[in-house]
Symmetry: C2
Subunit: 146 residues, 2 copies
């Protein structure tokens, strides 16, 4: 007899992940930004990089970045400038306004997390983090005895 979806740990993790993702997307959009644009600002905050590097970091196709960066640039939150060393490249950089918006986004995400994990103590949150870190990301590594 087949187990019900809710009985399985895999489904539970999948559903709670989807719930969490929805709440965080909602928080990311707090400044009127599309969630993926906010994610892009987050990736961009530590250091400028080329579009290809950014696309690789975000695990999306470079062509998808074009529309995102157009919107961020139109809103004055990020800037593209040619790399003088290789004029094919665009160096993408977050602006001051972008950093300011990102601060607000970050606070909203923190607030969403406080709500989501309100019933867990700090120790339990640390425990949850540790367990999630040990979910197997790459099954191939296991088969090879890694």
């Amino acid at each position: 007899m087949a187990a019900l979806p809710t009985d399985r740990l895999g489904f539970l993790l999948s559903f709670r992940g989807e719930l969490t993702s929805a709440r965080i997307r909602s928080a990311l959009g707090v400044a009127g930004l599309h969630p993926r644009n906010a994610m892009t600002l987050m990736r961009l905050a530590p250091a400028p990089m080329s579009q290809r590097e950014l696309a690789a970091a975000m695990e999306v196709d470079p062509s998808q970045l074009v529309a995102i960066l157009n919107e961020l640039e139109d809103a004055g939150l990020a800037e593209r400038r040619r790399d003088p060393a290789d004029r094919r490249r665009h160096i993408v950089e977050i602006t001051e306004a972008g950093a300011a918006v990102l601060d607000r986004v970050d606070q909203a995400v923190g607030e969403a997390e406080r709500e989501l994990f309100a019933d867990l103590t700090e120790a339990e949150q640390t425990l949850l983090r540790g367990l999630l870190d040990r979910v197997v990301v790459d099954p191939a590594a296991h088969e090879c005895g890694e």
Copy 2:
């Protein structure tokens, strides 16, 4: 300064949930079924029900069920029949062939879970389940002191 996505428990849960979801979807498709069709068979296995009940249980719009059930019926895995008591209603039922396919799907999902949680002991998996169960699903309930 904004925290990196990977530093936040919310993002970690969201990303591991997405990973888990992708693995499970892949397992659900093992019998050549579309993952959402396999999910429908799962919901249908315990007892027959009307399309509206099924849609409510799966949290999708009733109109989305139509194509799913058409495919399941064409494949001989589920059947619609009119409710004699209310001829507007369709009672949806899993067939013997559907139950057989579901058994294979269920094994594949179990296998995917064993891979995903290979690094966790049984006790740790129970712990993870308990923690995930306490992630706050309904923020409104908290604000009202529930």
